[in-house]
């Protein structure tokens, strides 16, 4: 019984990280029809910025949350800059988008190597988030609980933004029909830049939080991006709800898969995607 509870918990916490990584990716695709393969690079850079902030100011709880905030702002700025300068021109060209964003992913990988070196680093977790929450025989690592909480906050925040604010309504309008939205006076370039910045910020937050859990190293960007791709394929490109469901699902499958069939550990991450494609090519919640 304990085994099942713990494995489910591990699966949910990993799924939470996947959600924070992928929600920005699916948001960009839904609103701008842009496939940003450099998304995991924002994750990576965000994590490293967080590490640097923690190094400068010491490892207290306040600094930890400050690092999340600063990292989100920095990477959002970077994301908006790149979007305005380079990505704007590639509207509608899938292959060009993929190649260019992958080119950026490589450049960021090398940049990280130059700035921070090749050693793997972990974000230092503040004291209050370390250790475990004991419930009878079960030890629930507090940091994993924090991850689940953080993902829930992000999901709730996105929901409120998209469904309950004016800006969110404009975003949804732009996602549904960009021409008409532009026609009634919604400033599409502003919306695009804003969404891209938001997505980059979300990835950066995922990077700092994930960095306390998984190590960060230059190659992590290109390792994480196929995971984000798997989540959005299963969930449906453009659907936040889909990303949430898919990331929890894949987190659970990964956790149980690694326990029962370790030889096929990575295979089990991508197999659900194959199953989804056999029955519903646009994903669980995707639009055709």
């Amino acid at each position: 019984m304990e085994f099942w509870i713990m494995q489910t918990f591990y699966g949910l916490s990993y799924g939470s990280l996947l959600f924070m990584l992928s929600c920005g990716f699916t948001l960009i695709f839904g609103v701008m029809k842009f496939c940003n393969m450099a998304h995991a690079s924002f994750y990576l850079l965000g994590g490293y910025v967080g590490i640097t902030v923690l190094r400068w100011f010491g490892c207290t709880t306040v600094v930890f949350f400050l690092s999340i905030l600063l990292s989100a702002l920095t990477i959002a700025f970077l994301g908006v800059a790149i979007q305005r300068i380079f990505f704007r021109r590639l509207y509608g060209q899938d292959l060009a988008q993929v190649l260019m964003t992958l080119g950026f992913a490589l450049i960021f990988q090398d940049l990280v190597l130059v700035l921070w070196g090749g050693d793997p680093y972990r974000v230092t977790i503040p004291q209050c988030l370390g250790g475990a929450f004991v419930l009878g025989d079960l030890h629930f690592p507090r940091y994993r609980m924090f991850m689940i909480l953080a993902a829930a906050v992000v999901a709730a925040g996105l929901y409120l933004l998209l469904e309950k604010t004016n800006y969110g309504a404009k975003i949804r309008a732009a996602a549904d029909d960009e021409e008409m939205a532009g026609g009634i006076g919604i400033k599409i370039p502003l919306i695009s830049a804003g969404v891209f910045g938001l997505a980059a910020a979300l990835a950066a937050i995922a990077g700092v939080i994930g960095g306390g859990f998984l190590s960060l190293y230059p190659g992590a960007g290109l390792i994480m991006i196929p995971l984000a791709v798997a989540v959005v394929i299963v969930g449906g490109l453009g659907s936040i709800k889909g990303a949430a469901v898919a990331s929890l699902l894949l987190g659970l499958i990964d956790s149980f898969g690694k326990t029962f069939v370790p030889e096929l550990a990575y295979f089990t991450m991508y197999a659900p995607m194959v199953i989804i494609l056999a029955f519903r090519p646009t994903g669980l919640f995707g639009k055709a």
Binding site: L95, V98, L99, I107, D110, P226, V274, L277, P281
Partner: protein
């Protein structure tokens, strides 16, 4: 009106001449890099069938290199397989994997297809990385001997292996050239241009795309077999996302849809990776910048650029009527 890509025999002839005489004046290391360029050229040409001729951009083609390479590696080391059994095994298993993947991947188009092929390739990578019993995981399979034909030329000598690879490359190119100049090939181009139109004319487009996918996979597997023999060592990084992306870059950089263009792309990427990286420290940044510059400035690739130059110099042909028609269009 899109200009049809005519294969320019002058370019081919010059290329052929340069390649045949290369070992005479180039050092052994460069010759072995040329062999590598030829092997990746075969992989890139097979991807061009999908990208350039059928219009299906795949981000998972390195999976077929991996399947072919691992099949040959396992057969050569664990089962003492000779060249022909490794070759046939590699081709067969790659074709089977392509047949399976094609059933899944072809349910999508465009960006979905890109992502699905990426994820399918990651599945193959995952198997290579974790199924220790079969693939020795992260350690890779080493000690793959060069093939023995009983001929007086040992393939352990780089020059001889280069000619061996060159022969296979030329044969592959001829087969693929005949393929794309056949009715089947033209149907693929029609599907690239407008699938709905081809369907309305009665073509079974899914079957054509499926056949193209299997062919691309099989020839990708061929390049994998050659890679196993060339490198003597096969490991999971051969199937990584970066390899698939480099292959796609080779096709785009060289010129998709021209069949020989991807070889130019392969040549450039292989030499950048192995030769330039010795002199320039930050070659990953250079590679990434190449991707970006290619997308921004060279959408038709190197071969497309060459074609444009040749068109300019070939203006001596008097064709005023054709020129007028072009202006009207």
């Amino acid at each position: 009106m899109k200009t049809e890509r005519l294969l320019n025999f002058r370019v081919l002839g010059i290329l052929f001449l340069l390649l045949i005489t290369a070992p005479l004046y180039l050092p052994d290391y460069i010759v072995s890099l040329l062999s590598q360029a030829l092997i990746f050229g075969i992989l890139a040409m097979s991807l061009d069938i999908l990208v350039g001729f059928t219009g299906l951009a795949s981000l998972g083609h390195a999976a077929f290199l991996g399947v072919g390479a691992y099949t040959a590696a396992v057969l050569a080391t664990a089962h003492a397989g000779g060249f022909w059994s490794c070759l046939l095994g590699g081709l067969l298993i790659s074709a089977v994997v392509a047949a399976l993947f094609g059933l899944i991947a072809l349910r999508a188009t465009g960006v979905y297809f890109l992502m699905i092929t990426l994820a399918l390739a990651m599945m193959v990578w995952g198997v290579a990385y974790r199924w220790y019993g079969l693939t020795k995981g992260d350690n890779g399979i080493s000690g793959i001997p060069r093939p023995e034909f009983g001929l007086p030329w040992s393939l352990w000598i780089e020059t001889n292996f280069f000619y061996f690879t060159l022969v296979i490359f030329i044969l592959t190119f001829l087969v693929l050239y005949l393929l794309v100049r056949s009715p089947f090939g033209y149907t693929l181009v029609g599907i690239r241009e407008s699938e709905s139109r081809m369907q309305s004319m009665g073509y079974n487009t899914w079957l054509h795309k499926y056949a193209a996918y299997i062919l691309a996979g099989a020839f990708g597997g061929l390049s994998g077999v050659l890679w196993a023999y060339y490198n003597g060592f096969v490991s999971p990084p051969n199937i990584e996302l970066t390899t698939s992306v480099e292959t796609l870059l080779m096709v785009i950089l060289g010129g998709s849809g021209s069949l020989i263009g991807p070889f130019f792309g392969a040549f450039i990427v292989v030499f950048m990776k192995n030769y330039l990286s010795i002199y320039l420290g930050r070659w990953l940044m250079l590679l990434g910048t190449t991707y970006i510059l290619t997308v921004l400035f060279l959408p038709r690739g190197v071969y497309g650029g060459l074609e444009d130059i040749m068109l300019k110099f070939g203006k001596s042909k008097p064709e005023p009527v054709a020129a007028k028609n072009k202006a009207v269009n």
